[in-house]
Symmetry: C2
Subunit: 480 residues, 2 copies
């Protein structure tokens, strides 16, 4: 367990007090050696190169470069020029010629790239272990799956190696591993982060996501990246989503009704969810409203049992049709199912979705935010070995419907289960309400009063000014 | 040729001066007998029933019932309770149990239904003669196709039988027949008229459309119908589209550049388009901007050569799969092509469309309205007999891309070709700008200084108060 989690504010306080970015980078690699998880990175930037990038930053300047000297990692389905992109499929490996639009915004803001992280192959999975590379270990319990598909990025942040990392999110890949590793997972409104340079999964549903130790850090990173990209047909005006928000006094929150509470019979997860709802209630003037989750669950079931699987097929069509043997067996099995669907079926699926979406609109007239468990219950690596599909589907119970319905969401740490394993709450709202979700999530993370990730560092109060660093603290941040 | 075209204003002036709706209805059936075109209606309401509906209206009350006593027709792919819906396929015939949402708004506003009109079978075609029923005759020249798919509705208005009629528009079915018969064809922003009760063609692209003698009448009918329908998943908030607009002094209009001028070598159509542009120029402070039509034409080609044909397949799947022999041979040939497309192809088509849509966005930063010919050149019934596909595709040159790009449009009469056949201009704008299009179209129709439809009635000046009817005029309206 890392003693002190390196939030952006703490790193900047250290820089302001005289630490150098080369020292911070050295701390990152030192921390990585201590964590000793060979599954996190598929490609690690050599320490000397990261230090060279740090040295090239020039004088400390957090005003024009809000991420000055902040180390980060990106999921290996996002391009960085000069580095291989594998999407966890060695046969797919190629050196990227261009850096993804969003990653370039981070580099321009002074962030320092450490490496490319492991994932469920082609981002197809919510378990994090459908990869030919060694699977990353869950930061809290190696018997439990790390969650996916952005497993390496979530674990890398939870272990305090970097303050933030990028994932992607189509069905929950940016939220499930956040919940399973006690970090924040910000899944923004679709199109507000450009997908240019991201290996597609379902192009109509994909987004980059952010893992961070705190809501404030996730939000800061999101703001740097959320720039309209006219060259990306999926890019949309991000201005509404970027707008900061407060939690309005009369905020109306919905929670799953009795039938919508799905924990697979796990009493510890159920109790942890109720504890999270108590913290939530403490932030609200009125009690949450029980919500019928049936239309949401019906939407969720479209994602893997409906024609959307054909988007994944189309994304890697050449591989599926010409050399399917290079795919992970589970990935192959899933994606080959797409050939059962005709174009007419695809449109029929779009009609079903449209119909269900209309059904959910009534809900959004009654509540502003929906609060759900991030995942129903922890599932073990052994569970997965016995059944590669079932536990994966279960993990997506509260995530699969979000992108299909064009909603935004944030997974936020909440009180641990009684066995000490992280639970996690997810807040969901209609597109464009990202700022509201972050404001509420920041309050909840503080109220939960648990450390950041797998560290001993408490969450700063929302809006608290970063403390002035003492020499001791600089030392702690620098050595990780 | 009808002497006096029955605009809504003229009918209301007649009512105000003492005419009865039974008299007006008698005039409609009298006029229909004179026109003597058995192809217009698939189902005609018996005259006695229409008169009974007229008698049931109560006292003349145009304030609470803006369409009080106004006769109209609807395309026979739109349901009216108690009447058969055929979509021009006798094997599909069934008695509708419910009246389409939009039609009910018209009835509630006092309009009187006369019948259900002929169309290209399942609204699949732009020629108006792909029907097992006798094809409607073009109001100006029976050797030329009436245009479709809403052939019966367009001809019915052009012949002065009714002031307005409903069509539908997926690829241009509400505009091409308007152009070929010298009437207004209003194709609103998608979702602003509920499709509840309409036989689907391509659900993602379908809309009800309005044919009328004047822009003012089309707009009045549109406003009555454009009510949000929460039970229809495709219904969208119509408030922006319903907002009346003036033509702003600095309006920027785009026109096809040299390569985008497609008339199939027909010099008369080209000259008529240039005459229409002169009238347009007279309404503008600045000259129109030549626009590269290539991305629009690329979108248009997706509609029939891409996976969208699978929407038409899905709409009549049971028939296509179980008894294809009941379909019109051309309809069958087209729709069976859908089986070549997989779900992956469908999504690939959506991606192509997204990419092309982004390319067209730059245009909409440079111009407010695009002005194009409604159709390239008239095609004959004989042309169609020789080649059922080619001339149909050509007729959609300037219409096919509009709904795929979520644009609104209005086809407006313009100066006739030198041979006396109608030409027609179509104005196009991004969704929600319906009011602007109507404002400009009204000015253009008045500037063209041609009679309404196939009548001798001049177009009233835009915004002119309806004249007070003289006894002579009442007589004319009543006898048609």
């Amino acid at each position: 367990m890392v003693t002190d989690f390196p939030t952006i504010a703490r790193l900047h306080a250290a820089y302001a007090a005289g630490a150098t970015p080369e020292e911070i980078v050295a701390g990152v690699y030192g921390r990585l050696a201590v964590v000793d998880d060979p599954g996190i990175f598929i490609t690690l930037v050599p320490e000397a190169e990261a230090k060279a990038a740090a040295a090239a930053l020039g004088p400390y300047d957090p005003d024009t470069k809000p991420l000055w000297g902040v180390p980060f990692a990106v999921k290996d389905n996002i391009d960085v020029a000069g580095l291989p992109t594998t999407a966890a499929c060695p046969a797919f490996e190629h050196t990227a010629e261009e850096t993804a639009f969003a990653v370039q915004r981070l580099l321009d803001a002074g962030a320092i790239l450490i490496g490319k992280t492991n994932l469920d192959q082609f981002a197809m999975g919510l378990v994090g272990v459908r990869s030919p590379y060694p699977p990353p270990r869950n930061a809290f319990d190696p018997a439990i799956v790390p969650g996916g598909s952005s497993s390496g990025s979530a674990v890398c942040v939870a272990q305090g190696v970097v303050p933030f990392a990028l994932g992607t999110d189509t069905a929950g890949s940016g939220r499930v591993p956040a919940g399973l590793n006690n970090v924040v997972g910000l899944k923004p409104s679709l199109g507000t982060l450009s997908s240019h340079g991201v290996v597609p999964a379902c192009q109509t549903l994909d987004t980059i996501s952010v893992f961070a130790g705190t809501v404030a850090d996730a939000e800061a990173v999101y703001r740097v990246m959320s720039v309209f990209n006219p060259a990306d047909p999926w890019s949309r005006d991000p201005s509404a989503s970027r707008r900061p928000s407060a939690v309005p006094p009369g905020l109306r929150v919905g929670v799953p009704d009795a039938a919508g509470r799905q924990f697979g019979g796990d009493a510890l997860s159920e109790a942890a969810f109720d504890a999270a709802l108590e913290d939530l209630q403490g932030q609200l003037a009125t009690a949450p409203t029980p919500v019928d989750m049936a239309p949401f669950f019906a939407v969720a079931s479209l994602l893997y049992t409906g024609p959307w699987i054909a988007e994944r097929y189309q994304a890697i069509r050449a591989i599926v049709e010409q050399r399917p043997e290079v795919l992970h067996p589970t990935t192959r099995q899933i994606v080959q199912g797409a050939s059962a669907y005709s174009a007419a079926d695809a449109f029929a699926g779009l009609y079903q979705l449209k119909d269900l979406a209309r059904q959910t609109e009534a809900l959004w007239n009654a509540v502003d935010v929906l609060a759900v468990p991030t995942y129903p219950r922890p599932r073990s690596v052994a569970d997965l070995a016995a059944d590669p599909i079932g536990p994966n589907s279960e993990l997506g119970t509260y995530t699969n419907f979000v992108n299909l319905l064009d909603l935004c969401a944030i997974a936020v740490p909440s009180r641990f289960r009684a066995d000490g394993f992280p639970a996690g709450l997810t807040l969901i709202a209609p597109r464009g309400r990202d700022g509201l979700l972050s404001a509420l999530a920041a309050r909840l993370q503080a109220a939960a009063d648990i450390p950041i990730g797998h560290s001993q560092t408490p969450v700063p109060a929302p809006g608290a000014a970063p403390e002035r660093a003492t020499d001791d603290e600089i030392e702690l941040v620098v050595v990780g």
